[in-house]
């Protein structure tokens, strides 16, 4: 879907023409590749470039929010072979921003990756693209061909002596490959099972070589940051939460879609941009950062601003910026059951607490939803999450535990009602009507 609304567009400046504005010529016409040219022509010192990114306070847009400039500075200087990898695996339920970034403006990500390659001294990069979005993978390959033909990729870019080439790797359906080391294993042609850390990718990454891995939106922001200067970018947002951010708003709003707003924008404003609540119904809960982020009830989220610190203070995570909006037609037990199933299904199985724990979580929530819950099931669920969190190689176990704990914490009485009465608190007919799939009045 093309751009609907934005405040202060950077990442989405190229989206206004929908599918007609993605190619190299369009990107150049709006100032694209100017930053790469400037850096190469001036032989900008790598440390200066990284310092500028640090100044912007850009934090990784893939979920963890790690400071990007700092991550780049971890790359060893001397290593002869290094890589830059982009994470477009985008499997976190609720997230659909990277798809639109590559669909409407693939060259900003490409330029960002080339600049990152220059900054960390890498000569080769890969973009790992989510399996289900084949058309986007094709478009990205086309954009790479355009960039190569124009001399932005390959040997001796624009006569600067700097060489960098970039390729697309297509995933094929595994959420765990969004985890950065699972992703690297996958590029190596293996099962996408995450690696022990340390060593971190900056020391031991793709093919065992130092690797910088960032999210698509992180790379796409780089040309804009260098264009306006790190400080100006920071000032768009708020301290420690620089710049603008894409929010993918899904669920019970009138206009689901991607919205680019400055960090620190009130949630209420974002909801208004997304057209407000569907059918004028009442807001019940919001998952503010992708399905792995703890759910927040309406009264808490309505007081939040959309930035890392505000959402963390409210007890959740800004994560990937996927805002899942639920209204009063939602049964929270059923909603949690679907999420628990997802983590059970997608656990890669290598760590016992995650493999077994995610199955336990799903089966217990399932039995509550199906009227077979037991009095001590909520305690049992919390105990299972205790045995999962922080006890595994990667954070998928935590991602499975957070929804369970937060749904129970904020909607305990609804879970208790379900166990006691063996049915949903929300009338099934109301739930059915909530999705908007069936025309009003139809069976």
């Amino acid at each position: 879907m093309a751009l609907i609304d934005t405040i202060n567009p950077l990442l989405t400046t190229g989206w206004s023409k929908g599918d007609a504005g993605w190619s190299l010529k369009d990107y150049e016409a709006r100032g694209g590749y100017a930053q790469l040219k400037r850096i190469l022509a001036s032989k900008m010192p790598q440390d200066d470039l990284i310092a500028e990114v640090k100044k912007s306070s850009l934090r990784g847009r893939g979920g963890a929010g790690f400071p990007t400039g700092l991550k780049w500075s971890f790359m060893p200087k001397a290593a002869p072979e290094k890589y830059v990898v982009c994470n477009t695996d985008e499997g976190e339920p609720g997230t659909f921003k990277d798809r639109d970034l590559l669909r409407f403006d693939p060259h900003s990500t490409i330029e960002g990756m080339i600049i990152a390659g220059y900054a960390v001294g890498a000569k080769r990069g890969y973009n790992y693209i989510h399996g289900e979005i084949f058309d986007i993978y094709q478009r990205f390959e086309e954009a790479l061909d355009q960039a190569r033909a124009a001399g932005y990729l390959g040997d001796n870019i624009l006569g600067s002596g700097f060489s960098f080439d970039l390729f697309a790797h297509h995933g094929w359906g595994a959420y765990i490959c969004g985890e950065e080391t699972g992703l690297l294993e996958s590029i190596e042609g293996k099962k996408g099972q995450p690696r022990y850390k340390p060593p971190f990718p900056a020391n031991f990454g793709l093919y065992g070589k130092p690797t910088t891995i960032n999210n698509t939106e992180t790379f796409a922001a780089i040309p804009f940051i260098l264009g306006m200067g790190g400080e100006a970018y920071l000032n768009l947002g708020k301290p420690n939460n620089g710049g603008t951010k894409l929010f993918s708003v899904s669920g019970h709003v009138n206009r689901p879609g991607n919205y680019e707003v400055p960090m620190g924008t009130p949630f209420a404003k974002l909801l208004e941009m997304a057209g407000g609540m569907r059918g004028g119904r009442k807001l019940k809960a919001v998952i503010p950062g992708g399905s792995s982020a703890p759910v927040l009830p309406a009264d808490i989220i309505m007081d939040c601003t959309m930035d890392y610190d505000s959402i963390a203070k409210a007890g959740s995570m800004l994560g990937s910026g996927a805002v899942i909006v639920m209204d009063e037609t939602v049964c929270m037990v059923k909603a949690l059951e679907r999420l628990a199933y997802f983590y059970f299904e997608e656990s890669c199985g290598q760590c016992t607490p995650c493999r077994e724990g995610s199955g336990w979580l799903y089966r217990v929530v399932h039995r509550i939803e199906h009227g077979e819950g037991r009095a001590d099931d909520l305690d049992l669920l919390n105990r299972v999450t205790d045995n999962m969190m922080g006890k595994t190689i990667c954070a998928l176990a935590d991602a499975a535990a957070f929804p369970v704990r937060s749904f129970i914490k904020h909607f305990q009485s609804e879970f208790e009602y379900h166990i006691e009465h063996k049915k949903c608190l929300v009338d099934p007919a109301v739930q059915r009507a909530g999705s908007g799939f069936f025309k009003a009045g139809a069976a």
């Binding site: 289900e132 979005i133 042609g189 996408g192 993918s248």
Partner: protein
């Protein structure tokens, strides 16, 4: 058979070569995911023999290729219908009718998830988030074609289109 991989067409092998060229010369195995997709497109599904052929072409142990084929959800290790429909039922989609869309398709085709119609035309699968939740309900046709806003009328149209 002249070699272990001549069950794959020259066109398929040429496509695999293009994938191999993306990776360092000593990292051919990196192309296995793409090569398995190419083989699946050609054969309709991945039999043990097909997987072994891909492995042989890339100089890998067959078990290493099989591990990959069985790890990622979109490889079909069993025959599927001419049209494989994968409906996303994850929460963001479900809020806007993903589960109802799946129920609707089940009723229309008379099959459940992981089943194929008697005429071999359709296989139905339950999918996880496809990164398109703003367009819910969404479904994939044969892994590569994404269909958005699949309300009853659109589903009827899609099913009628699949000849």
């Amino acid at each position: 058979m002249n070699n272990q991989y001549d069950m794959l067409s020259p066109e398929a092998l040429a496509k695999i070569d293009r994938e191999v060229a993306k990776y360092p010369a000593d990292q051919k195995q990196s192309a296995v995911m793409a090569a398995l997709v190419i083989a699946q497109d050609e054969k309709g599904w991945l039999s043990q023999e097909t997987i072994a052929a891909v492995a042989a072409y890339l100089g890998m142990a067959p078990v290493a290729a099989y591990e990959v084929a069985s790890f990622y959800n979109m490889y079909d290790l069993q025959p599927v219908g001419k049209y494989k429909l994968t409906v996303c039922t994850n929460l963001p989609c479900a809020l806007s009718g993903g589960v109802h869309a799946a129920d609707y398709v089940k009723e229309k085709l008379g099959i459940d998830f992981n089943e194929t119609t008697a005429d071999g035309k359709f296989t139905l699968k339950e999918g996880e988030c496809m990164g398109a939740c703003g367009d819910a309900p969404v479904m994939l046709v044969n892994n590569k074609r994404m269909c958005s806003f699949m309300l009853p009328e659109q589903i009827d149209k899609l099913l009628a289109e699949c000849k």
